[in-house]
């Protein structure tokens, strides 16, 4: 334990844990707000000053753990996570809910811990930690729907952890090591089952196609501040793990390409703007996964840079939509519109976020996405490259235009909400400043990246290409809008893979139960429903009155004793040869 504490002392996680322990004892208000601000700052400082290499050695059940593996890849993720926690803390200054505040600290802390985990067991512990801590941000909404959503989220997140630990166990029995290094090896054909399970676990948290839907299901269900926090950590932690473990795995390029494409269409017709942003988040993850799949130094730099920028501008977008929700009580496009009249500052910040995610030159998305696109083009993946360019236009359509347009312009909803609270404006302002700053001075970001960068984003050709792509797309939007082809916003939801377990599975189970029930009741000639019959059967044997649970049967026990002894004797004396 002492060993563990001293190991924790080297990690930034300690401060989040301490903060989470101390926080409930501070009265809600300024003191608490300051605590939530100070902890990420300390964390960033610890990360900044940490010596590179392995540290925080501890051991568990005979396995050596490394709690603090510091290299440039983990530093960049650790820093942006700390920054995200800091900005979210400003944004959540008004919060008086102890549960959410503690959950936020623990969530950020475990996510940062995962980034510095040098071995798979530590990773697993933090992996489950993020799942457990983050679900409270969903439950904090306090409605029955949020509870169910939270349960679905928790089951999938914990499930990912279970798959991870199973994979780690298999990996350990095969290689005898739990060190968290690259699994790529000689490519997928050389992987054991364990490696595939680990990839599957990463894939779930990274919202791979068909495994993605927990994200769009849960993030819109969280609280105003909770969604901002959620958007930063879990998926980017998974991206980090992929970059660390599976860099250069070619098929991930195609997985990533599909990830950039399909959310575009779903986002376009989605009504809840926070869900639109969740799809957009999914699409942006696709770019990062492509970078991981390409796996060159440039591509990994691109992945890290894009994760960095993405956390900032996605937070900014979630913050602005959250501010609208905070003032109007809804985040549905069909209920909003015309808010620029009374929330102009929020609108400006939202547009900065939208411009960043759309990768307009001078905004942060431009300098990071270019790295990935160039890496893809360098390595001659024409189809993937075409898909990514297509997806770039798609990003403009749902995040770049849809979010600000339908919130702040479009038809006037008649809502006249007050401007967002000051602390939210400060948080959005800082984030927006960071987005622009990175866009104008990309070298500051590049200096943080894992590999040395000699990439210049602002070439004449590059700027021109990007401007053409975006401005022509804007023109298309303007024309389609003018001539009424643009799909109008209407209330409703869209089916996604969650349909399979929210609708199909219950239907199948219900149907099977009906069938079995019909057969069973026919067999029993009774009126019991099938479920009751099975339960009765089980509890008849195992229940308090059942045969397996009877207590008062001394004679029977002695009989058992005799039977067992007899068996043992027969086995030993008769069956086995002496």
């Amino acid at each position: 334990m002492i060993e563990f504490l001293t190991a924790l002392l080297e990690t930034p996680v300690l401060w989040f844990l301490l903060g989470a322990i101390v926080l409930p004892f501070i009265p809600a208000g300024t003191g608490r707000g300051l605590l939530t601000l100070v902890v990420p700052i300390i964390s960033a400082w610890v990360i900044w000053t940490a010596p590179q290499g392995l540290g925080g050695a501890a051991s568990l059940a005979g396995l050596d753990l490394t709690l603090m593996r510091v290299d440039k890849l983990s530093i960049v993720f650790g820093l942006i996570f700390s920054l995200a926690a800091f900005l979210a803390a400003i944004y959540a200054w008004h919060l008086r809910d102890t549960v959410q505040q503690v959950a936020t600290l623990l969530y950020a802390g475990t996510a940062i811990g995962a980034v510095f985990a040098g071995d798979l067991l530590t990773l697993f512990i933090y992996w489950e930690g993020t799942a457990l801590a983050s679900v409270f941000l969903i439950w904090a909404r306090g409605t029955e729907g949020a509870f169910h959503t939270g349960m679905r989220y928790l089951i999938i997140q914990i499930g990912s952890g279970v798959i991870l630990i199973a994979g780690v166990a298999l990996h350990y029995t095969q290689t005898g090591s739990i060190e968290f290094t690259s699994f790529t090896g000689e490519g997928p054909h050389s992987w054991g089952v364990g490696t595939w399970l680990i990839l599957l676990a990463f894939g779930i948290k990274c919202a791979f196609p068909l495994l993605h839907n927990w994200l769009q299901d849960s993030y819109p269900a969280a609280t105003v501040t909770g969604t901002v926090v959620l958007s930063a950590f879990t998926t980017k932690m998974a991206v980090y793990c992929l970059a660390r473990g599976f860099a250069g795995t070619e098929f991930l390029i195609y997985v990533g390409a599909i990830m950039t494409l399909f959310p575009i269409f779903l986002a376009e017709i989605e009504n809840d703007l926070r869900r639109v942003l969740s799809y957009s988040l999914n699409n942006q993850l696709g770019f990062m996964v492509v970078g991981v799949g390409v796996g060159t130094e440039l591509a990994l730099n691109g992945t890290a840079a894009h994760a960095f920028c993405h956390i900032l501008y996605k937070s900014l977008l979630f913050m602005s939509v959250g501010a609208v929700l905070h003032r109007t009580g809804t985040s549905k496009a069909s209920e909003l519109g015309g808010l620029y009249r009374t929330m102009p500052l929020t609108m400006v910040f939202c547009i900065i976020g939208a411009a960043s995610i759309s990768a307009f030159p001078l905004f942060s998305g431009f300098v990071s996405k270019s790295l990935i696109l160039s890496a893809t083009a360098d390595n001659q993946y024409p189809i993937v490259w075409a898909a990514l360019v297509f997806a770039s236009a798609g990003v403009l359509s749902h995040s770049g235009i849809k979010i600000p347009y339908f919130t702040f312009f479009a038809h006037d909803s008649g809502k006249r909400p007050a401007e967002a609270p000051t602390h939210m404006l400060i948080a959005m302002g800082l984030t927006a400043f960071a987005c622009v700053f990175i866009g104008v001075f990309p070298q500051t970001l590049y200096a943080l990246l894992p590999y040395s960068v000699d990439y210049v984003p602002y070439t004449w050709a590059h700027v021109l290409e990007q401007m053409q792509l975006l401005v022509f797309a804007l023109l298309a939007f303007a024309l389609l809008m003018k001539y009424g082809f643009f799909p109008e916003e209407k209330r409703g939801i869209n089916l996604d893979t969650d349909w399979s377990y929210r609708k199909m599975l219950p239907a199948i189970v219900g149907f099977s139960c009906q069938v079995i029930g019909a057969v069973w009741s026919e067999l029993m000639r009774g009126s019991h429903a099938a479920k009751n019959a099975i339960l009765d059967l089980l509890s008849g044997y195992y229940g308090p009155q059942g045969r397996a649970a009877q207590v008062q049967s001394t004679g029977l026990m002695v009989l058992w004793l005799a039977i067992l002894l007899g068996t043992a004797l027969v086995l030993n004396l008769v069956i086995l040869p002496s």
């Binding site: 729907g145 017709i269 479009a410 401005v471 303007a478 643009f486 799909p487």
Partner: protein, 116 residues
């Protein structure tokens, strides 16, 4: 595009008031024309600049512009079809789901804009 609600007498912010010009049809049309002109400018800029992209198609003049335009249009038309297939009512999964219930107002600060 919705028309501005001229009868609405409720206060709005000064910045917002300036921006209301954007809702006049004339201004909108001018903006679209401006956008088109900008597109043309970018297209011409492509002419002035001989490029060597990684792929052959990149060197086509205005490739990115047309690709962007086509992609956007395709997305819009495809999604209209897609919505017809997968669109559902908000209470499709029952009335105890996040989509169908209101956000509980306890934690929110719902507030109307006022001048002071």
């Amino acid at each position: 595009m919705a028309k501005p609600d001229t009868k609405d007498e409720r206060p709005i912010s000064p910045t917002g008031r300036k921006l209301t010009v954007l809702e006049q049809p004339v201004v909108i049309n001018r903006m679209i024309i401006g956008l088109a002109l900008f597109c043309a400018l970018l297209f011409l800029a492509d002419l002035a600049h001989i490029r060597h992209g990684k792929f052959a198609v990149e060197d086509l003049i205005g490739f990115y512009g047309f690709y962007g335009f086509a992609a956007f249009a395709f997305i819009i038309f495809a999604t209209k079809a897609l919505r017809a297939v997968i669109g559902r009512d908000e209470d499709y999964y029952g009335d105890r789901v996040v989509d169908a219930e209101d956000y509980p107002p306890t934690e929110l600060e719902l507030k109307e804009f006022s001048d002071d």
